[in-house]
Symmetry: C2
Subunit: 189 residues, 2 copies
């Protein structure tokens, strides 16, 4: 059921880097984007995939990890993502992508989870550095990056307390994410 | 499999309005948003649900239907959506929602499709009219509307030709949506 997949699709930031993701697998996940809704059907988003160590390292160096975990600067070697998908706006098609980016990423991440993997969406990206590192042509704008791998961390959902949305990691390394109740997100009017 | 669900999740604009969607069902779908990724975990989006005829009519009157179908102004009575979900930004939480809107809507729509329904995302909304019609408090901004129902139209995906992204309806009422190939959306660098 979709419910189980959505619940299992947590934001994972530590992976077993020794577990490879194939190019074929990544392409299958990105293929789902073609079947996902696109504002005015423009389909202005395009994708770079990465599974090679050197390319992965270049992308890794541009990402801002877990803003709320002040003493943690991202996964150590061996726990880094095995693959990345860079989402780009093709400005030769349009200057806008409406809400296509989130729709596409949810399709990709749910597919990754179904296949036993997991990932993390990044918007905190050193975009200029990423453009330089991957030599992305100037007609493309970096929108988001998805890091993917075999998760090795436990992520649990807690009830929100006093409106504090900050996620945190306990002394056993379990990652806690406070979520608003259904009651709180439904406006009764 | 997720693939089947994503492929089945087309943008539907004509429904069997006599098929009811329960409040409980809508709440289950919106509940998936709580388990979907949120930028900085802010969870700044909130939702109004509608299943009542009068409220549905108010929402319907604010929506812009299928911009590319020039001679069609939206579904006739009897073929209109049975339910709506209005997605709002709660500006008392944040002024931003990153890409949460698309992520959330994809979760909702996939759940609706799994349950035998389908829908359509609207960004072309007379927002001021919707705010007035539903008396939405001023701290909320209208982000998107999802219309939901039991689809009665056939939607097929075609290969794109000459870069023309416009969807169209053939003389049998089948809705055609041209999609870019996987090859076209992958940047090989």
């Amino acid at each position: 059921m979709l419910y189980d997949l959505v619940v299992k699709n947590r934001t994972y930031r530590r992976f077993d880097e020794s577990v490879h993701i194939s190019e074929q697998q990544l392409l299958e996940w990105v293929n789902l984007v073609r079947y996902s809704a696109s504002g005015a059907n423009l389909q202005s988003l395009k994708y770079i995939i990465s599974i090679e160590k050197e390319k992965n390292e270049k992308i890794f160096s541009t990402l801002g990890w877990a803003a709320y975990l002040k003493d943690w600067y991202g996964p150590v070697e061996g726990e880094r993502p095995s693959a990345y998908i860079v989402q780009l706006l093709d400005t030769t098609i349009a200057t806008n992508f409406f809400c296509d980016d989130g729709i596409a990423m949810q399709s990709i991440l749910l597919a990754a989870v179904e296949a036993g993997f997991g990932g993390c969406i990044f918007r905190t990206i050193n975009r200029q550095l990423l453009i330089e590192q991957l030599q992305i042509p100037e007609e493309y704008q970096v929108v988001n990056v998805i890091a993917l791998g075999k998760p090795i961390e436990k992520v649990v959902i807690d009830e929100i307390k006093d409106g504090d949305v900050k996620y945190w990691r306990d002394n056993k390394g379990v990652h806690h994410v406070p979520k608003r109740s259904l009651d709180e997100i439904i406006l009764k009017i």
